[in-house]
């Protein structure tokens, strides 16, 4: 790094400073790999390994819980090439909204497998408690200098769940100029996913069949199915620009274009079909378009005050499903001395509904081409409030704890609730806790 060569007053640059310096020219495209720009000028140094591990617990009140463990190994070679390997394992269990609306009476739903059913009490949002999944994910990323001021990076991704397989590749290139105060970057990524949901893929707007307790008689369930698996591809292009403003401030701007193509419907979600009194007459499986084109602009600034550091970012996303979203994310780093620190975190998120989102279908209306009652593509605001505490252990390793509260408030996108729904809660808020322990060595 130029920094190290040229700052003659700082001859005792330790490994920590080097590592930090290496992260400086990082662009978002190179993502979590934290790559530097020019490795050529660094004095020969030993290959070094560094390890990061984390355990995260995510829990929604009365709904989904997930436990996730991450182990990351990073090898920095003497020429500053970087190999990054990451293993993620997570387990998910609990209940997820099935899309149907609450009713004044008890409701009975078929499980996704077609075998067995579950009942939802009067006045409660229908949740399907069938979900149990374990996921294993592997990521590998190789980063190296390709020419003076040019850094390249390639990576692979594999993620396997019981019912889902995802394979991905990515490539990035970054160019530093203006004394490394400016960096432009360009990246591509492609994912190929295969979904084999329990019970197969339901036909669009098929009626949820009655539960078939007798496993010899699955014809009713089978009649609603159109296959056992389907594919989805996700192709992303990202252009980034990073600029050092002054000694205390660095900024970044990204533009992303993403095309998702294939099976984008959620096979576990239904819509209630209501009569004009608002009473459910049937449950129909949802149907989404098989293509989605998303774009986003992202800007981030970090400012170093005398001691503290402010990190603010904003993202605007829009897509051809007519979803628009705003995300503001803020962190404030407060050193406490001896390597320990506090970091409060605030995040605000707001999204508009997809054009085909509707909380229910009306019996008297014609069936639309596409419809989904999944609150995750409906109108919503959400916020996260969190605090992280980190410390440097006696052996120089890092230990940190993070506790956050996440709340989602789905909102009406103007759909009028008929009769019986007047007293029902259609847009139920979700509260979740995120707890994490990280250890780096």
């Amino acid at each position: 790094m130029q920094l190290i060569n040229e700052s003659k007053s700082k001859k005792t640059v330790n490994k920590k400073n080097l590592k930090a310096a290496l992260t400086l020219a990082t662009t978002a495209l190179l993502g979590s790999v934290q790559v530097s720009a020019t490795p050529t000028s660094v004095a020969a140094e030993e290959d070094t390994w560094s390890f990061d591990s984390a355990f995260l617990y995510y829990s929604e009140a009365d709904r989904v819980s997930a436990a996730e463990a991450v182990f990351n190994a990073k090898k920095t070679y003497s020429d500053d090439s970087i190999l990054n390997l990451k293993l993620t394992v997570d387990a998910l269990t609990g209940a997820s909204a099935n899309g149907a609306v609450a009713q004044p009476d008890v409701q009975t739903f078929t499980r996704p497998s077609g075998k067995g059913d579950y009942e939802i009490k009067a006045g409660e949002t229908p949740l399907d408690d069938t979900f149990h999944d374990t996921r294993v994910q592997l990521n590998a990323q190789w980063t190296q200098a390709l020419a003076p001021n040019v850094t390249g990076s390639v990576g692979g991704h594999l993620s396997k769940e019981y019912d889902y397989l995802s394979l991905g590749i990515n490539g990035n290139i970054a160019y530093d100029f203006n004394k490394k105060n400016s960096t432009i970057s360009f990246g591509l990524s492609h994912f190929q996913d295969t979904f084999t949901p329990e019970g197969g893929l339901p036909k669009p707007f098929a009626s949820m069949p009655l539960a078939y307790h007798d496993s010899d008689d699955e014809s009713g369930h089978d009649a609603t199915r159109m296959g056992s698996d389907d594919d989805k591809t996700t192709s992303d292009i990202m252009v980034g620009f990073t600029q050092v403003i002054n000694r205390r401030m660095v900024t970044q701007f990204n533009y992303s274009y993403s095309v998702v193509d294939g099976y984008l419907t959620d096979p576990f979600k239904v819509l209630s079909l209501l009569n004009n009194q608002g009473l459910a007459q049937d449950y129909l499986y949802e149907n989404r378009p098989d293509k989605r084109t998303k774009q986003s602009v992202f800007a981030q600034t970090k400012y170093h005050f005398d001691e503290t550091i402010l990190d603010v970012s904003y993202r605007y996303m829009w897509d051809d499903w007519e979803i628009k979203s705003h995300t503001v994310d803020t962190r404030f780093y407060i050193p406490l001395g001896n390597g320990s620190y506090l970091e409060p975190h605030l995040r605000f998120y707001q999204q508009g509904a997809a054009q085909f989102y509707q909380p229910f279908l009306m019996e008297d209306d014609a069936t639309p081409e596409f419809a989904s009652a999944d609150y995750r593509i409906g109108e919503m605001t959400a916020y996260t409030v969190g605090l992280k505490y980190g410390m440097k252990l006696a052996d120089g390793n890092d230990l940190s704890f993070r506790l956050e509260y996440y709340r989602q408030d789905p909102k009406s996108a103007g759909h009028k609730a008929p009769g019986a729904l007047a007293d029902m809660e259609i847009y139920q808020s979700i509260d979740a806790i995120i707890a994490q322990v990280s250890y780096s060595f």
């Binding site: 310096a21 990082t26 993502g31 019912d163 994912f191 000694r247 986003s296 998120y349």
Partner: protein
């Protein structure tokens, strides 16, 4: 996004880009920028975990890094 907003974005980008040559620091002025905490992604693991949570709970993903696929996410 309306055209006015798009043009404003382009204008802002061009202004920023043209102003950039006068921005920045000399190599020996990077003491603060070089600290680990000033990296744009200072906690990659936290970012990856957060991305996974919000990817599966909201309709948006990516922006800072690739949005990606990678999970069934019920």
């Amino acid at each position: 996004m309306n055209n006015k907003f798009k043009y404003s974005l382009v204008f802002a980008a061009v202004t920023l880009a043209s102003g950039c040559s006068s921005l920045g620091v000399e190599p020996w002025e990077r003491d603060l920028l070089a600290t680990e905490q000033m990296a744009l992604t200072s906690s990659p693991i936290d970012s990856a975990l957060d991305d996974h949570i919000y990817f599966s709970k909201e309709a948006s993903s990516g922006g800072k890094s690739f949005g990606g696929g990678g999970c069934g996410c019920n």
